[in-house]
Amino acid sequence: MSWTFLLRRLLLAIPTLFGVAVIVFVLLRVVPGDPIAMLIGPGATEADIAELRRLYGLDESIALQFVYYLRDLAGGDFGTSISMRQDVMELVLGRLPVTIELCLVAMLVAVGLGGAMALAGAYWRGRSGEAAVDGAAGFILAIPDFLWALLFILFVVVFALDGLPISGRIGHDVAFRGATGFLLVESLLRLRLDAFGSVLLHTILPALALALPLAAIVARVLKTSINEAMTQDYILMARVKGFSRARIVGREALRNALVPTVTLTGVQFTFLVGGTVLVEKIFSYPGIGNMAIDAVINRDLPLIQGLVLTFAVLFIAVNLLVDVSYALLNPRMRHG
């Protein structure tokens, strides 16, 4: 892969980030007219309002506010959370590992499940098996992650499955406080299998809720791509060469089918990350998504701002990774 390509993608991320920052500013400071109206609780006095105004620099002109805003962002200063009275950056960084771990588990589930569905569908091509896979994928896809989450909760409640936790990230009875936020990895490394089991159990349902729609997409795209690849002339050539069917699907078709799948899966992965906002809320899972909803409910402007920007950086990073893996998979991109 050419380095200029990578460099180009990195450079392009800069104006995108800047654009994101501008839009966040416009959204939170300009659109509401008076952002303070969002901030004040009931019973605030005129003096309180003026104090807040000064505190957030809202007594300056919009242009000047924008300059200060950019300056603060560039310095990594996201301000102080109003509801938690803590540095936004610290808050976000504390919760970020939780969401990342959840997303990665969900991703693994989605790729495993979707891949299996796709291979099954391709194997039963043109038979009722393929129709079943298509139908299942279409059904799963029609139900968004937050409804899956609610359905799971309903399921657990109705069938009284007390073994499956539907709230929190680790059992109250498990004494384990990680040094990092990556509890799954850390507990495994420190051989605290009880903690690992508890975290995994708490993660299963939210991860599955997030994973199902993506799994359906992986299944669809991969199956279509394999079927598409199987109609190509080089597959005919492979048959003439006398290769076995398993080898043709595995070595000749799958490799070519992976390229579009990785691209689409990557884009869809950003939707999965976005889905954590509601799913974490529903399962009271202590990640940044959960925090975001609370921030909106509490009208915690600096925290909202910090979280939206964090999500944006995550998305841009994911897209960058997708581009790189695309380039690595596609020989056309690797050379020239």
Binding site: G126, Q232, D233, Y234, L236, M237, A238, R239, V240, K241, G242, F243, S244, R245, E252, R255, N256, P331, R332, H335, G336
Partner: protein, 301 residues
């Protein structure tokens, strides 16, 4: 050129082959009782316009016809052995060492995900049981034989890095890799520029002579047929109109359609304005004959 009666039997013998594409309501006949023989070392041309079924014959011989195509009657004999309904496993063994294919479009028939070297070596390892090193060495030899310069470089390249002519050379190398007795060449030069076409034709002819292989050469181009084929079969509507030595077909065609096709072929060595299109009455007559054939078959089939 003039074939002395072969001492051994034909390499390929197609006997009264009927093939139809299964449709929702009824089957569409594609081949209507095609018969042809190809002697060892013979280059046999199969000419016709689109829809004549010439490509389908090639596919049926190789056993790679589309899944909806049904061989209704007739047989394909390879080296005297009936391979019409050969089980998958046995057919795979026949490929490579028995038969090879030079495809029409070198752009799409090489796998874009694999290096050129691997695409040739894989066949050698599968059918000849060569180890990695031996297959690599033979691959270089093959590329040399098809006149690819700097083969050491080419084996490490991907198909998209080669020109159309180079890719077709690679396809030829793959087809001849295991010294098959029969090669199906499916319009191998149609996608190429005319100067490259001449090189590729020369290469196919040379490899064929060197390996003493038989070739079923599918094409729509009478010029190409005249230059490379020993014998020719003219096809229309899935029926054989005539078959014979190339010189006889080209210089004294026995069928009206062949004659019309030759008259409709433009030539740069003659002044303009002399083309005569194939008369519509003739094509209409041929279509009617095909339908009558179907009806006759249907009535006692």
């Amino acid at each position: 050129m003039t074939a002395t009666p072969p001492a051994v039997g034909p390499t390929l013998s197609v006997r009264d082959l009927h093939l139809a594409i299964a449709g929702r309501r009824r089957d569409t006949p594609i081949l209507r009782g095609v018969s042809l023989d190809i002697a060892p070392g013979e280059v046999h041309g199969l000419v016709g316009e689109s829809g004549a079924g010439k490509t389908m014959i090639g596919k049926a011989v190789l056993g790679i016809q589309p899944s909806r195509a049904r061989i209704a009657a007739g047989s394909v004999l390879f080296d005297g052995r009936d391979i019409t309904h050969l089980p998958e496993r046995e057919r795979r063994r026949l490929m490579g060492r028995g038969m090879g294919l030079i495809p029409q479009d070198p752009m799409t028939s090489l796998n874009p995900a694999h290096r050129i070297g691997a695409q040739i070596a894989d066949v050698l390892r599968l059918h000849l049981g060569l180890d990695r090193a031996a297959a690599g060495a033979r691959t270089l030899e093959l590329l040399n034989e098809v006149h690819i310069r700097a083969p050491e470089r080419v084996v490490r390249q991907y198909p998209h890095e080669l020109s159309g002519g180079m890719r077709q050379r690679v396809s030829i190398a793959i087809a001849f890799a295991c010294r098959p007795k029969l090669i199906v060449a499916d319009e191998p030069t149609t996608a190429l520029d005319v100067t490259v076409q001449r090189q590729v034709l020369a290469l196919i002819k040379r490899m064929q002579a060197q390996e003493d292989a038989s070739i079923l050469f599918v094409t729509h181009d009478l010029g190409v047929v005249a230059k490379i084929c020993d014998r020719v079969t003219v096809l229309h509507g899935g029926r054989v109109l005539e078959t014979g030595a190339t010189r006889r077909i080209v210089e004294a065609p026995g069928h009206d359609y062949t004659r019309a096709l030759i008259a409709a072929t433009p030539r740069h060595d003659r002044p303009g304005g002399l083309l005569r299109p194939v008369p519509e009455a003739l094509t209409a007559r041929l279509d009617a004959e095909a339908l009558a054939y179907d009806a006759a078959r249907g009535s006692h089939g």
